[in-house]
Symmetry: C2
Subunit: 415 residues, 2 copies
């Protein structure tokens, strides 16, 4: 077994090679990994079976078991993801800007790889392959810390990726798994400033919070989405019902699902009863303020905690507000800077909302569920950033690169 | 006296207004502050006199006293800086990219302010005005933590800026000084995730390290520059002497000064004796490896510490290397990812160096001293980033902004 420091050193050593790989070489390796995963589906499913058995024994709940489970269809899904990443343009080496100074210096801003990306993630084995393939295409090595519950699955996937990289003549340490399964290994990883250039935590709020609070390596914070939909006075009812139902119920366990509904009081008078019925018909549990309670029977009174909660289930907080100003104020107070939505036919309200809401993504007449790397057209996604530095919103290949300046002179010294 | 939390709350409250200010309003306020500073020079110099007297009493060394000192000329310099910032294009609101998805969604990536920027800096009172003006123009409020030794000067400057902002009808809390002068206030500031969006430390290595190691607010690391110049076999002697002397001796206490000289062995045989003499003629103390020692008398033997040291004085480490590969290896091992330079007439060597050196700025036949926001044409500079996230190298107005995505639909729900 490799110690954490051995894995980190190996990833760092490999990162210099990965940074220099030609685009076609990277794409070949990604396609070869896709083939290997499909060919060795049996080996993957068997390893996953051990994780599943252990999880059942510990009494893991069924929604989490479903996330953990791998079958032939899901392996094919991962392979398809790899083939798609191979098709994406290579971000490395792109000249982002260039200009010449009066003294003749030519300055080029060039996109470069991060180096080593550390991923810390929970029981979704597919993240192992998604993160490794994105990091690899973006020219970085990756150090993967899988949760214990998905360890056997992750180990099998990493083994296959590494063997295939070797077969392609690429240093297998481009993809390293943290084999030290102790909790201490995570804390140590968060402080490995000499080996890791970037930490991306993916998982529940506790995992992300631990990374943010304890890391000295720069962290790209992902995930938590207490997303709001504000229905303005002029909103079309049909559109409001379609978007609110979509945002709340299409998938509930995801960060871009809506959690709080804010409704302008005149609109509430005209339509809120019907909208709330549409939600309760779909078994959404409602937590409302005093004014909202008048529009549905048996609503649970909302507490302060409801405004801040990311339910991640069929539940929604409902509040009646006077207008767009109050909506923005509420959102900037309780939101998590992920995705916020206004439904309105009034351009002035929309403009105010788009300008004043502080979030990675602000929607006008569109579902919050579109906050996603594929829906944005990035072709891939490492996660959704909810912080303001470096990258905001869906993070595709470009968002996991850095840049450097090349200054080309003819002997200039500074006067 | 305001407590730290009161100052932070005030800055946060003001940041929403600063974010919305029209460009012309911001420029007017910046020009008004320039006028006020010049008009009230006496008040500034008097406050600075108290800092200077206290510093002399504590025995502060003369180079630091010089940094601390303000006179009419330096106040005019700050005013000129403000007028220049007023002339720069406003980064806020710029549409960086936009595209339409097949489902009709229009996605706009728009530049937005950071919110509240926390500056922690040492005894250079001009940073008070530089940082406040840059943050203000970039639409953010600023929370300034000046060192104790420059506190009276900083307080006078902030008082004048705040009074002028008020006169211009702008919330004076756009510029807040941390009035709590305890060391605990810095540690507390580093963890104010609810109030501060970004911390920028400017000062010595200890100050920066403390911020990086203890902050939970995202930090943009600035500063430390162990910059190398590699002289390749084909380098022109005249150019090498001009650039090495410029990079080492023009100003020694700055992060973009050169600290280590790497010389290809054939070139060393032909020219190193002459180059080292040019350095010692300018009183540069040389620390060399065994091979370098052959080219100058009385050279101090270099130790491991010399390769890592940022001298910030008239001293330079010298090493003879076999070629560009060894130079890159040495730099990637000991460099601080600030600025690295190759002098060569050989395009292949240059290409290898530019591609493989991991640093914010890589120079070919130009002095390391050009790593500077003004020299890059940014018109202003908040500092020089030596890390890979968000911004690398000189940080101008754009580098202290964030962005958000606006998604404009016509009722789309996710299928």
């Amino acid at each position: 077994m490799r110690t954490l420091i051995e894995s980190a050193l190996a990833a760092k050593a490999a990162s210099a090679q990965v940074a220099q790989l030609a685009t076609e070489k990277k794409n070949e390796a990604l396609r070869a990994i896709a083939r290997s995963l499909v060919e060795r589906t049996g080996e993957i499913v068997e390893a996953n079976g051990r994780d599943m058995a252990a999880a059942r024994e510990r009494g893991m709940e069924s929604s989490l078991l479903d996330r953990l489970m791998l079958d032939a269809g899901r392996v094919e899904g991962m392979a398809e993801g790899l083939r798609q990443v191979a098709e994406l343009p290579d971000p490395v080496g792109e000249v982002m800007e260039q200009w010449t100074r009066p003294n003749g210096l030519l300055i080029k801003k060039v996109r470069v790889p991060m180096g080593v990306i550390g991923m810390i993630y929970e029981a979704r084995p597919n993240v192992t392959v998604d993160a490794a393939s994105l990091a690899f295409k973006a020219g970085s090595a990756v150090l993967l810390r899988s949760s214990s519950s998905a360890y056997e699955s992750s180990a099998a996937l990493v083994r296959i990726m590494r063997e295939t990289l070797s077969d392609c003549g690429v240093n297998p340490d481009a993809v390293c798994l943290v084999e030290d399964r102790s909790h201490g290994a995570v804390d140590e990883m968060l402080k490995m400033r000499s080996y890791i250039d970037l930490i991306v935590p993916r998982g529940g709020a506790g995992l992300i919070r631990n990374a943010v609070m304890n890391a000295t390596v720069p962290v790209l914070e992902t995930g938590t989405g207490n997303c709001h939909i504000y229905v303005d006075a002029s909103a079309d009812y049909e559109m409001a019902e379609r978007i609110v139902i979509n945002a709340k119920t299409q998938r509930t366990g995801v960060c871009n699902a809506a959690e709080t509904l804010l409704v302008q009081s005149d609109w509430a008078e005209a339509h809120l009863r019907e909208l709330l019925k549409a939600l309760t018909d779909r078994e959404v549990e409602l937590h409302g303020d005093g004014a909202a309670a008048g529009y549905a029977e048996g609503m649970i009174p909302a507490t302060e905690a409801d405004w801040a909660d990311e339910y991640l289930r069929l539940a929604m907080a409902v509040k009646v507000v006077s207008g767009v100003e109050e909506a923005v104020e509420h959102i900037n107070r309780y939101g998590t800077k992920h995705t916020e939505c206004i439904l309105t036919a009034d351009g002035k309200s929309a403009e105010y909302f788009l300008k004043n809401v502080d979030a990675a993504v602000v929607d006008w007449n569109a579902s919050t569920r579109f906050t996603d790397g594929f829906e944005f057209g990035f072709g891939a996604e490492l996660g959704i950033s909810t912080q303001k530095l470096h990258a905001r919103g869906p993070m595709g290949l470009k968002e996991i690169t850095s840049y450097k300046y090349l200054v080309i002179g003819s002997g200039q010294a500074r006067p």
